[in-house]
């Protein structure tokens, strides 16, 4: 971590919520790595494992280590844990347990949904232009089409209809439409019922007989904030990832409604009802379910609290930083997201200065080498390159506090001023 510019290594100590840190547990001790006292405003990247979830997972790595594909008591114990987790997740997502396919995470779920499994769908996939690369790159690889978005980052219904009509005219069957529930950079929420209606109308008007085009939604960012029972009802397939909602990394799910055909993408032992082979990640699955339960139980309270913090953050920034604008109207966003573009500032410099003050943020998605790259989301939103260069994503989470916002409101204006002074 960079040292503070004034040379001090002491940072204001954060008000510690007793529920968020278990000082005795090595999992929660960051002192050795030098990672302490920072403000995490990058909850879109990942979130901290909720303390109670580490506890829930622990037995399945030690005493209860069975492989649920077996038949003896150790295996049956694991089966029961996975079954229970699946039921809990299904209840919160609003689907049947049999419709939940556990995956290694959001990317695998997205790949599976868009390809339809092996062999790849013979038809063309369609997605919005602001999808995560886990969807977008698959659509591109399969020769699919992208649909534009409005200034709030939501899929453009007229463009969607036009793309579907063009595909039909050219004789290309559209195999899936993928529209994210909430965008991972700017937080825009799509109304999936309206999207589904638009798809139904387009496919109805052109095809003889009823031909249902499945709607997939990447709900990886949304699941921490929106009730999928209502927000994702219209989706035929839903991708979720545990680590975005206080769960562990390496576990997620693709929900596939029973009426939607899917082939396996990973072949092998036939787990997950032959739809996804590989030994179940039992501790991960248990942690995933526990995290989703916690999110669901606290959703109303969390959303209200975080919305208020976000309001303070964005209003504070708009008041204190000239040339700063909200990328997407906050009324169209999930509660935790705050994305701004700042004129005359280079994001990379800004982020380094913020880090030196203990504020961790991002400009958008990072590439594999760790460098900041131009965002396809901002391009699709029609944000000019000059403004996109000053993109700043400050994403709050379930464990964000008033003091996080206060520190950001001190650090950002100072950092912007310094970057502008140095002109780099």
């Amino acid at each position: 971590m960079l040292r503070s510019l004034d040379g001090s290594t002491d940072r204001p100590s954060q008000a510690v919520d007793p529920s968020r840190a278990q000082q005795s547990d090595p999992l929660f001790t960051r002192a050795d790595s030098g990672l302490e006292g920072f403000v995490d405003l990058d909850h879109a990247a990942t979130t901290r494992l909720r303390p109670e979830i580490a506890e829930a997972m622990e037995p399945f790595g030690s005493l209860r280590y069975g492989n649920p594909s077996g038949s003896h008591s150790l295996a049956r114990d694991a089966v029961r844990a996975v079954d229970e987790a699946r039921e809990q997740i299904a209840e919160i997502v609003g689907c049947r347990p049999s419709e939940v396919i556990f995956t290694s995470g959001g990317t695998e779920a997205d790949n599976h949904a868009v390809t339809g499994g092996l062999p790849a769908r013979s038809s063309t996939p369609v997605c919005s232009a602001v999808e995560h690369h886990a969807v977008l790159d698959v659509v591109h690889a399969l020769g699919g089409h992208t649909v534009g978005v409005n200034s709030d980052g939501q899929i453009d219904h007229a463009d969607l209809a036009a793309v579907l009509n063009r595909a039909a005219e050219s004789g290309a069957a559209v195999g899936v439409v993928s529209v994210m529930l909430a965008n991972n950079e700017v937080g825009s929420i799509n109304n999936l019922s309206e999207v589904a209606a638009c798809i139904a109308e387009a496919s109805h008007s052109q095809v003889a007989g009823e031909s249902h085009i499945p709607l997939h939604t990447d709900a990886v960012q949304a699941a921490a904030w929106l009730d999928l029972r209502t927000a994702a009802t219209a989706a035929d397939m839903i991708s979720i990832s545990a680590h975005k909602l206080g769960g562990p990394k390496g576990i997620g799910a693709l929900v596939v409604r029973e009426s939607t055909p899917i082939r396996p993408m990973i072949l092998g032992g036939g787990q997950e009802r032959d739809r996804r082979s590989g030994t179940a990640n039992v501790p991960g699955i248990v942690g995933f379910a526990a995290a989703l339960r916690a999110v669901d139980a606290e959703r109303a309270e969390t959303n209200q609290r975080v919305s208020q913090l976000r309001e303070q953050l964005i209003v504070g920034l708009l008041e204190s930083v000239t040339g700063l604008s909200e990328t997407v109207d906050r009324s169209a966003q999930i509660p935790g997201s705050c994305h701004v573009c700042i004129e005359g500032v280079d994001s990379e410099s800004l982020l380094l200065l913020l880090e030196a003050e203990g504020v961790l943020a991002s400009a958008g998605s990072s590439c594999a080498s760790g460098a900041q790259e131009a965002s396809h989301v901002l391009t699709a939103l029609g944000i000019p390159d000059d403004s996109a260069r000053g993109a700043l994503r400050l994403w709050l989470g379930w464990d964000s506090t008033q003091s996080d916002v206060d520190r950001a409101l001190l650090a950002v204006p100072a950092a912007v001023q310094r970057v502008r002074e140095f002109g780099i």
């Binding site: 040292r3 510019l5 990379e348 030196a356 594999a368 080498s369 760790g370 460098a371 970057v419 780099i424």
Partner: protein, 358 residues
Amino acid sequence: MRVLAALSGGVDSSVAAALLHEDGHEVVAVTMKLWGGESDTGCCSVSEVEDARRAAAQLNLDHHVFNFGEEFEKHVVAPYVSDHAAGRTPNPCVECNRHLKFDVLLRRAELLGYEAVATGHHARIVTLLDGSRRIARGADTAKDQSYVLYTLTAKELDSVMFPIGEMTKEQVRSHAEALHLRTAAKPDSQDVCFITRASGRAAFLEQRIELHPGRIQDQDGATLGTVSAVEVVTLGQRRGLHLAGGAAARYVVDVDLPTATVTVGGPEGLLCDELELENLVWAADAVEGVMNLQCSAHGASLPATVTLESIGKGPAMVRVQWHEPHRRIATGQSVVMYADLETSTGLEEVVVGGGLVR
């Protein structure tokens, strides 16, 4: 001191960072991501960044990646292409040092509160009797990189460090081995980082500009053959012309882009007595007189008399009068001026300035 160490993923810069760390400086490592396209050296690729990151971790240094792709495109790649289109022969390494490492990176370092930027160049920084600093040749004369660093002024040298300048390449490698750095046995990088050896300069330029086939003639105008792209033919070039064998070695003595004509002749046709330099950079004040001039990264430096002139009413230009006839240098190439000056540690050959051949 708080030092930002530029790590390319190679052995020289890893050891440079290690030496600073050993000397008790507060060091943070950074890798500049400059080029996203194909590359032989892998410079800026994920694997080079990974090597840099792991070397930094071995030294217990924090490591950042700065994306200067736009600046690299603007200051190095685009001019490289337009220079070729205009018949000049640019040196992109000089431009990268001028605009990226010792401008953008230096300013970024200052922004972040660092006192100096360190690189793994084989060059030394010496102090003149008046206290101002100059670049001297690296201790390993075969690896000396002072030529590509001539655009650094004395002012910039106040916040630049070349920690391995006093070492030979062998010493650098053995130091890396002693520290078990994973970069210890990596081969030296070669040539232009954004051009692959397999496809070459023409294939790279072809993606960005139209290349024109040309006619090869002798000095009497008789046609000897053709070239597929006159833009990549350089003054003094001998290879790659596919001329009929048997005759004495022939060199390119002239390239005329408007008529797409390449003229070849014997080595005597390449010699000249004078040279003009523009886009001058001086370490401090402009100087005239007898000095040694070097015309390529690892070429010999030869004596000449340098006088300052102006281009019309415009900026200053340098006229170089070689003491012995010298081979002609392609326009756009850098020529670096060295002089023996008294330093705090005795007489040293230092860079006093340089410029581009007009």
